[in-house]
């Protein structure tokens, strides 16, 4: 692998930012300021951040509802995220949709929907396009143990394997689908074994150990990028909070929860970084300050943002006529293309951070950060 000191601190920063964003979202929820339910992913940070950090500049993510970590690494703006939770009129969905149902295809992020599993066929379409356009880019598609039992999961993995599509299918097995524990969801030990059904490599890894995740994702990416087809990776983690903030999750055995809380991925990584002398009280404080500043900025921005205009309620049903750019090809961002800007508003898309005086890390990590 060979991540350098700065890379590791970057990983740590994004894990902390993810956690802090979610903590603040929860506070906002308790204050009654969030619209609708809140789904967070405490415990997933090693998986979501670790995996996304391994992508190259032009790679794609197809994230799900608990993948804030992936989003942030790939450049989704914390402001956009907070605008989503607060249903602001300038959120990426213009207040039409909530949660992390956002993305910017020009920056390699496909927006998800609530129907879990249904993003996986979409990932195939992105992979097909890469194949048709002879690219060496890949797709990282995240989803839960629950989604692994849906029809679209099967159709997508099968189709991807036949077409040798460049997709890393990443199962974030957090032990439960809502209240339903793994043993009521499927009858096998490791979901990665499903790789056998598609003739693709499968691996199960400790999803709370960010270095292990990084290594496993690196292996999967190496396979996928070589043109040999998709790979399936299962990161075993745990949902240490309720399914949503409204769920007390008293169906989770206390000891099991306690055990997993002890395995908190951020604390573990912190310990490692400290032992290695990479994380010091000084740079830790710096990171915390930066994290706080980003979160504060996002919340402030969202709170100052306008509500959507009810007069627009019937608008934006159809995209206008005009040329469409093939995403990722030269000139694709030329504004004469209908998909180059947000034609609903006539403004640039707002999912990705692109404020010049941006508070947090650059929106894309250096190409293949792990490959030194």
């Amino acid at each position: 692998m060979g991540l350098g000191r700065e890379d590791l601190l970057q990983v740590y920063y994004f894990m902390r930012l993810t956690r802090a964003m979610e903590d603040r979202t929860r506070t906002l929820f308790l204050q009654g300021r969030v619209v609708g339910g809140v789904y967070t992913a405490q415990g997933h940070e090693a998986t979501t951040v670790g995996a996304a950090m391994m992508l190259g500049k032009d790679d794609f993510i197809v994230p799900q509802h608990r993948d804030l970590g992936m989003h942030l690494v790939r450049g989704t703006s914390p402001r956009a995220v907070m605008c989503q939770w607060l249903a602001r009129g300038n959120s990426p969905t213009l207040g039409r949709d909530g949660q992390l149902h956002i993305g910017d295809i020009h920056h390699g992020i496909a927006p998800s929907i609530s129907m879990l599993g249904e993003s996986l066929p979409v990932a195939c379409g992105i992979g097909l396009t890469m194949k048709m356009r002879k690219r060496s880019t890949i797709v990282l598609a995240g989803f839960g143990d629950g989604a692994a039992n849906t029809g679209p999961f099967h159709e997508a993995l099968n189709f991807a394997s036949v077409q040798k599509l460049p997709i890393v299918f990443l199962i974030e097995n957090n032990g439960y689908a809502y209240s339903t524990p793994n043993n009521k969801e499927f009858a096998i030990e490791n979901l990665a074994d499903r790789a056998v059904a598609y003739g693709i490599p499968g691996e199960t890894v400790d999803g709370n150990d960010v270095l292990a995740v990084i290594e496993a994702v690196e292996r999967a990416i190496a396979h996928v990028r070589s043109g040999k087809g998709p790979a399936l990776l299962e990161c075993k983690t745990f949902r240490v909070r309720g399914h949503s903030e409204a769920d007390k999750a008293d169906y989770v055995p206390k000891e099991l929860l306690a055990e997993w809380l002890k395995k908190d991925p951020i604390q573990r990584f912190e310990r490692y970084l400290s032992e290695q002398g990479i994380l010091t009280p000084e740079n830790k404080a710096e990171i915390e300050q930066k994290v706080k500043a980003v979160v504060d900025d996002a919340v402030r921005f969202a709170e100052e943002s306008p509500a959507p205009d009810p007069a627009t309620v019937a608008d934006y049903i159809f995209a206008p006529d005009g040329p469409i750019a093939i995403v990722g090809e030269p000139g694709a961002s030329d504004s004469h293309y209908v998909n180059a800007i947000d034609t609903r508003t006539g403004e640039p898309f707002t999912t990705i951070s692109n404020a010049p005086a941006q508070l947090h890390a650059p929106k894309t990590v250096p190409e293949e950060v792990g490959r030194r």
Binding site: G36, M115, G117, S179, E185, P308, P310, V313
Partner: protein, 327 residues
């Protein structure tokens, strides 16, 4: 007896039917240990055991398809969609397997597919569906939508006892609405499928509606009486398939003006079919254009100001009713 909510009425219906008839069982996501996302089946697992209260994987086709198979066997499964929006993931089982089975084979498929529908709960585009239009258009499945606790219980019992696939749409905004609490009969009762009910009598105009919109319509009717001296009849359709043509025609023949109110989007909603029936059958009775108040032709939005603008409400009904009355 105490007053119960719409949600408790649903819960009672299932529990009583499961006690009465061992052919009845419940399957769906999180219906067992958790008692359902809205706690409709809280305590059921303990009472009926895991073979009759089945926590399933997240697999809508398997849930609905299993219901079809069990129904063929003479069981009376109740398949819960955690939110009714997810019915789109098990759609083919309803359209091609369940709805055509009796017609093709003579073998009945007594099953219920039910789940929380409707908006007003900040659910956004994937947790606010009113999916009725796909199904009242589909021969072979019945569609019911209760508006009161009494009907919630009685219609669900009727649905469970029906020998056909029945889509039972419970409106989640009504689940715990205090105004809907009512005392229910101690004895067993059903509300027959296919029968509308007059919620308020009047002779100046008929409002045809169902579900949560019954309550908005009743409020509007009250205001119209108070402020406009109009006597508006409110007919709660309750059943969208089959429709109670008789009750609909009878009312409109008397009032000669009709306003249709539904939460589903305008184009191709049940209002379209009602308008077609009335304009064909009651052409000579109509003293004004058949008017529809419905959600705009847009997906269901998330932000509260958009949701408020989207959903029909007393205000919008009043505006339309006044225009129609003045016609």
């Amino acid at each position: 007896m105490s007053e119960v909510t719409y949600l408790e009425a649903i819960s009672q219906a299932i529990r009583e039917e499961m006690r009465r008839d061992e052919a009845v069982f419940l399957l769906g996501e999180d219906v067992g240990t958790y008692g359902g996302a809205f706690k409709v089946s809280a305590g059921f697992l303990e009472e009926f055991g895991p073979e009759r209260v089945i926590d399933t994987p997240m697999s809508e086709a398997a849930i609905i398809g299993s219901a079809v198979g069990a129904a063929l066997m003479g069981m009376r499964p109740i398949a819960e969609m955690q939110f009714i929006d997810f019915i789109a993931s098990g759609f083919d089982q309803i359209i091609n397997m369940a709805s055509k089975m009796y017609w093709r084979s003579g073998m009945p498929v007594p099953m219920v597919v039910r789940g929380p529908s409707g908006g007003g709960t900040k659910g956004g585009p994937f947790h606010s569906a009113s999916p009725e239009a796909w199904f009242f258009h589909t021969p072979g499945i019945k569609v019911v939508v209760p508006a009161t606790a009494y009907d919630a219980k009685g219609l669900l019992k009727a649905a469970i006892r029906d020998n056909n696939p029945v889509l039972y749409l419970e409106h989640k905004l009504l689940y715990r609405m205090p105004e809907l609490r009512e005392e229910l009969p101690a004895e067993d009762y059903v509300v027959p499928i296919g029968k509308a009910v007059v919620r308020r009598e009047g002779q100046d105009m008929t409002i045809l509606t169902y579900g949560a919109m019954v309550h908005q319509s009743l409020k509007a009717a009250q205001t119209l009486e108070e402020e406009d001296d109009l006597e508006v009849e409110v007919l709660d359709l309750r059943s969208l398939a089959p429709l109670d043509r008789e009750a609909i025609l009878e009312s409109v023949k008397r009032t000669n003006k009709v306003l249709i109110v539904h939460e589903d989007t305008l184009t191709g909603g049940i209002g379209a079919e009602l308008a077609a029936i009335l304009s064909e059958d009651l052409f000579e009775y109509l003293d004004g254009p058949i008017t529809r108040v419905a959600a705009p032709d847009a997906p269901f939005p998330y932000a509260p100001p958009l949701e408020a603008a989207y959903l029909p409400d007393e205000e919008k009904i009043l505006t339309a009713a006044r225009k129609l009355a003045a016609y």
